[in-house]
């Protein structure tokens, strides 16, 4: 009895993940176009949030740069989409974002705490205005048209990026580098004096995280058909990502996934029903999360499971 119980428990997680993946990859066969588009937006937020969590959750460097890396992906698509195949455009978007992250990382990861956060926030504005200046001065236009890709392809690409991203995030967490990133978040100088090459590890992880944001931007742009720097580099995306990660909880990998999914759906509902007040609702939710569930949904579930375990021990 005990052995079979154990086996079922072991199979439960990968089994249900496979079922979910199967349902999701065949979604376009049975769901309405609206559902596919809605879930694509949700996947976009999940991608951005999980990418953010790879770097910012263990190291506790709160980055507000997601919008910058996302925007780089969008602009890669806008400028190369007509000339190159989609796969290549996405890969280049990922590459450019990670190159920018390497540069930024090498320059600024010496900054700690709020200084790093403010810098990354400024970065989004800097790139936005630089690009605006470039477009007006040299190309003479403000925006660009993006080549159209059909909804199902966008959806499937987004899903593939998510699967690769989740596997990457899982492997990093489980590896020795996951442990090292965690130690950086706890006491950076003690980590360095224990042999961790903190600057290299931070910079490379920041770049890995950025590459997925760039890829997500590159595919997402094809749905919007027209972009300009104001659309591509919205600080709003950075804040949403941090909010979603905090709401879902960063202690477990499923936290940010669930947090992003709920929030993205909520955005969709609120924006159609209360177009003027939905930001207010987000603000309230953020306050409640920080005050009452600082470890997010995953933290609540962890606590609940521990309590249940405790009860089992108490009454065998």
């Amino acid at each position: 009895m005990k052995i079979s119980n154990l086996d079922i428990r072991k199979l439960w997680v990968p089994g249900s993940l496979l079922v979910i993946l199967g349902l999701m990859s065949t979604l376009t066969l049975y769901a309405s176009i609206y559902t596919v588009i809605l879930i694509t937006s949700i996947l976009m937020y999940i991608n951005l949030t999980v990418s953010w969590v790879i770097f910012s959750a263990p190291t506790r460097y709160i980055s507000l740069a997601p919008a910058a890396f996302f925007g780089i992906g969008i602009y890669t698509s806008a400028s190369l989409g007509t000339e190159l195949p989609l796969v290549l455009v996405i890969l280049i978007g990922a590459l450019l974002s990670s190159c920018l992250a390497l540069l930024i990382g090498a320059l600024t990861l010496r900054l700690r705490g709020i200084y790093f956060t403010v810098f990354t926030f400024g970065l989004v504005e800097l790139i936005k205005h630089l690009l605006l200046w470039y477009e007006i001065k040299f190309t003479g236009t403000r925006g660009r048209f993006v080549i159209l890709v059909d909804n199902n392809t966008i959806y499937h690409t987004m899903l593939i990026i998510l699967v690769v991203l989740l596997i990457t995030a899982y492997l990093i967490r489980r590896s020795k580098y996951g442990l090292a990133l965690w130690s950086i978040g706890e006491f950076e100088d003690a980590a360095a004096h224990s042999g961790v090459n903190v600057n290299a590890l931070k910079t490379i992880t920041f770049a890995v995280s950025a590459s997925f944001m760039g890829a997500t931007g590159a595919i997402m742009a094809t749905r919007w058909t027209y972009v300009d720097p104001y659309i591509a580099f919205k600080a709003f995306y950075s804040f949403m990502v941090v909010l979603m990660a905090a709401f879902g909880g960063m202690g477990q990998l499923y936290g940010p996934v669930v947090g992003a999914a709920i929030f993205a759906y909520l955005e969709e509902v609120l924006i159609t029903k209360f177009p003027y007040y939905y930001m207010l609702a987000f603000g309230l939710i953020l306050l409640i999360v920080i005050l009452f569930i600082p470890d997010g949904l995953a933290g609540v579930i962890d606590n609940w499971q521990e309590k249940r375990k405790g009860k089992q021990h108490a009454n065998p």
């Binding site: 020795k176 090292a180 706890e186 003690a190 042999g195 090459n197």
Partner: protein, 239 residues
């Protein structure tokens, strides 16, 4: 044969010379104490040796190789481990993971996962923390956090161990337990350079003592020489 040599080490913080023109050397296998009044520059000297700070001038050699200006992780992998004055164990991490980090990253050659885990467990047994390996480090008492930090430092397989006030804040029983550990580590063949304010500890176990005052070395010698040195007594008590 010296394992650690410093020549003309100088470090300024703004206009203040925290360490000024200090020469020192520690022989392989020796247990050397570093004492001095508050603000004498002891911790700064340790920060310079371990790479947390870079000296303005002077060279530091470890095993005859210049290590001045190297990053802390490089110096650690060469065989210099340290503990901190204010204990810096990773608070949310389990005790075991704290030590595992040191054995995984802190060595010149990366050990296999099994070796790293086995040796981490061995070190935790050595410092007496085997019962609490799954607890988060923050739940330990100060004395145990200091033991944990010591285990993490040892996990990097150091040749030289820099101990910054291991005994501070401990009660007399804990002090003698930690002193025993230090002596055992020394018999394992690890050279120890320690900053200490607890005179009982320093006088009993050190082979040699160095005294810093206002960033300068004012005396050096055996414990009894230091105890009778006029310069040292003046530095501590005033003229």
């Amino acid at each position: 044969m010296p394992i650690l040599e410093g020549e003309g080490i100088t470090k300024y913080f703004g206009g203040l010379a925290a360490v000024s023109n200090v020469d020192f050397s520690v022989d392989r296998g020796e247990l050397v104490g570093l004492i001095g009044p508050n603000g004498a520059g002891k911790t700064t000297l340790f920060n310079l040796i371990s790479g947390a700070l870079v000296p303005k001038s002077g060279t530091i050699k470890f095993n005859r190789e210049t290590i001045t200006g190297l990053k802390p992780h490089r110096i650690c992998r060469k065989g210099v481990a340290r503990t901190f004055q204010s204990v810096k164990v990773f608070p949310e991490m389990p005790v075991f993971a704290n030590v595992l980090l040191g054995s995984t990253f802190g060595r010149s050659t990366t050990p296999s996962a099994t070796d790293a885990e086995g040796e981490s467990a061995g070190l935790l047994a050595f410092v007496g923390l085997l019962d609490v390996i799954e607890e988060p480090a923050k739940s330990l008492t100060l004395a145990n956090r200091k033991r944990l930090e010591l285990a993490r430092a040892l996990a990097t397989k150091p040749q030289l161990l820099l101990l910054d006030e291991m005994m501070a804040g401990l009660n007399p029983t804990e002090v003698s337990e930690v002193m025993e550990l230090v002596v055992m580590i020394r018999f394992m063949g690890i050279t120890i350079f320690m900053i200490e304010h607890v005179m009982k500890a320093i006088m009993n176990i050190c082979d040699r003592i160095m005294v810093l005052h206002h960033g300068e070395k004012i005396a050096e010698g055996t414990p009894s020489e230091i105890a009778n040195s006029k310069a040292v007594i003046e530095a501590y008590l005033g003229e």
